[in-house]
């Protein structure tokens, strides 16, 4: 298939490993799914910190289950990316360890308190789920299949996150103030989660024309605002004055994007923020620590297939 044919045929779950896809499509899909897989890994690593901070055994159990989910999502997504034949899982994991792999902005900020749990588990995961729901109709079928399972599990993460937020906002005055303070730090990051405006997003047009993406960054961010601002206010959080949020003619909400720090965003997107280095380095050391497990599996694979060949000859 050439690119013109791909664009003509693009639709939900239209293409799969049996189709002969042009390199441009396979590379774009790999870039997108690898970014998503990396984000699941880095999100899982960030989230595991909350198990230590969680105030009760129930919260600790739920949090470890969530972390296990996220790493499972990464496994599924690396497999979906591999089906494009551009990169192997080992390559993608090494790229992440070496600081070349890209991932969501919110996972570049190390966390160190329980007040941050609802920022990630409710707002960031809620935003992620908005995006993931639209990706159920991506054109690369293995990616869409992974989204079915991801969205099935993600509902628990968002509801658990909301439950933490509610619990904290019913706490003492001091607790509520700490949550508000933490929210003000995270709010701009959360708004940037959906990426830059459409005209500044480099890969948007192509990904949309071949059906990999079905919704623009702007549309996702605006629908997120419409759903999550009322939630924040319901629990008594105050939306900061800047970045300015305004109501558009159709009654939906949008953000004045010039109020956001895009220099920080682009530094993060190059993995050059201080937090990026900390988060990437901490995961790299863990990848190195369990290298012996991967080596053992690889060695077993080769000896096992040798055995099979011997048995067959």
């Amino acid at each position: 298939m050439n690119i013109t044919e791909v664009k003509e045929n693009a639709g939900p779950r239209e293409f799969g490993p049996a189709d002969d896809m042009p390199e441009e499509y396979r590379k774009a899909a790999t870039r997108m799914i690898q970014f998503h897989a990396n984000s699941e890994v880095m999100g899982g690593y960030l989230d595991k910190e909350f198990t230590r901070h969680a105030p009760s055994i129930d919260r600790k159990l739920a949090n470890t289950a969530k972390v296990q989910d996220e790493i499972g999502h990464a496994q599924l997504l690396f497999r979906a990316a591999e089906t494009l034949g551009v990169k192997t899982r080992d390559q993608m994991l090494d790229e992440l360890a070496e600081g070349e792999g890209k991932f969501l902005n919110c996972f570049h900020y190390p966390v160190d308190s329980w007040y941050e749990a609802p920022m990630i588990d409710f707002f960031v995961d809620g935003g992620a789920m908005r995006r993931q729901a639209t990706l159920k109709s991506t054109s690369w079928t293995p990616y869409a299949h992974a989204m079915d399972k991801v969205c099935f599990e993600e509902g628990f993460h968002v509801k658990h996150g909301e439950s933490i937020l509610r619990e904290l906002m019913q706490g003492s005055k001091a607790t509520q103030e700490r949550v508000q303070e933490t929210f003000e730090t995270w709010w701009p990051r959360i708004l940037q989660f959906f990426g830059p405006t459409n005209d500044e997003s480099v890969h948007d047009d192509f990904a949309q024309s071949v059906g990999l993406k079905t919704t623009t960054n702007d549309a996702l961010r605006n629908s997120f605002l419409n759903m999550y601002i009322p939630k924040a206010e319901k629990y008594g959080l105050e939306i900061p004055d800047t970045p300015r949020i305004y109501e558009r003619d159709d009654g939906t909400m949008a953000v004045r994007e010039e109020d956001l720090d895009w220099d920080e965003f682009w530094t993060i997107s190059k993995n050059e923020y201080d937090g990026s280095k900390e988060q990437i380095g901490s995961r790299r050391r863990r990848q190195e620590a369990v290298e012996w497990v991967r080596d053992a599996l690889d060695t077993w694979e080769s000896t096992d297939s040798t055995r099979m060949e011997v048995a067959q000859s």
Partner: protein, 113 residues
């Protein structure tokens, strides 16, 4: 090595493809399939199959169901007979009507293309 995973929800259900896993041998493939594909969803059983062992025949390669008029083998053709006397006959006719509709749509789409 890649292994394809098929999940059966309850005893007696058909197995549905749910994804695949990396594993060096079938024992580990079963373990990985269990963790990645049956940890949360209700599951009765898994099939774990080497991906290389699966062969596919696509609609481009085969004329599934043939290309000639075979209306004589559809229940709806005999519409001067009322199927409602027995529920199972009526159900079967309904299933056939649905299958025929999908097939007509697919052929029409092919004609358009």
């Amino acid at each position: 090595m890649i292994w394809e995973v098929f999940r059966q929800e309850s005893a007696g259900d058909t197995y549905e493809h749910v994804g695949n896993v990396h594993a060096p041998d079938s024992e580990l493939a079963e373990q990985f399939a269990e963790v990645q594909h049956a940890r949360r969803m209700q599951t009765n059983s898994l099939w774990v199959v080497p991906a290389d062992e699966i062969s596919e025949v696509g609609a481009q390669d085969a004329a599934f169901g043939g290309r000639t008029d075979k209306s004589y083998r559809w229940a709806m053709t005999y519409n001067d007979i009322d199927a409602s006397f027995a529920e199972e006959v009526a159900d079967s006719e309904e299933e056939q009507r649905e299958a025929a509709r999908k097939r007509r749509e697919a052929l029409a789409e092919e004609g358009d293309a």
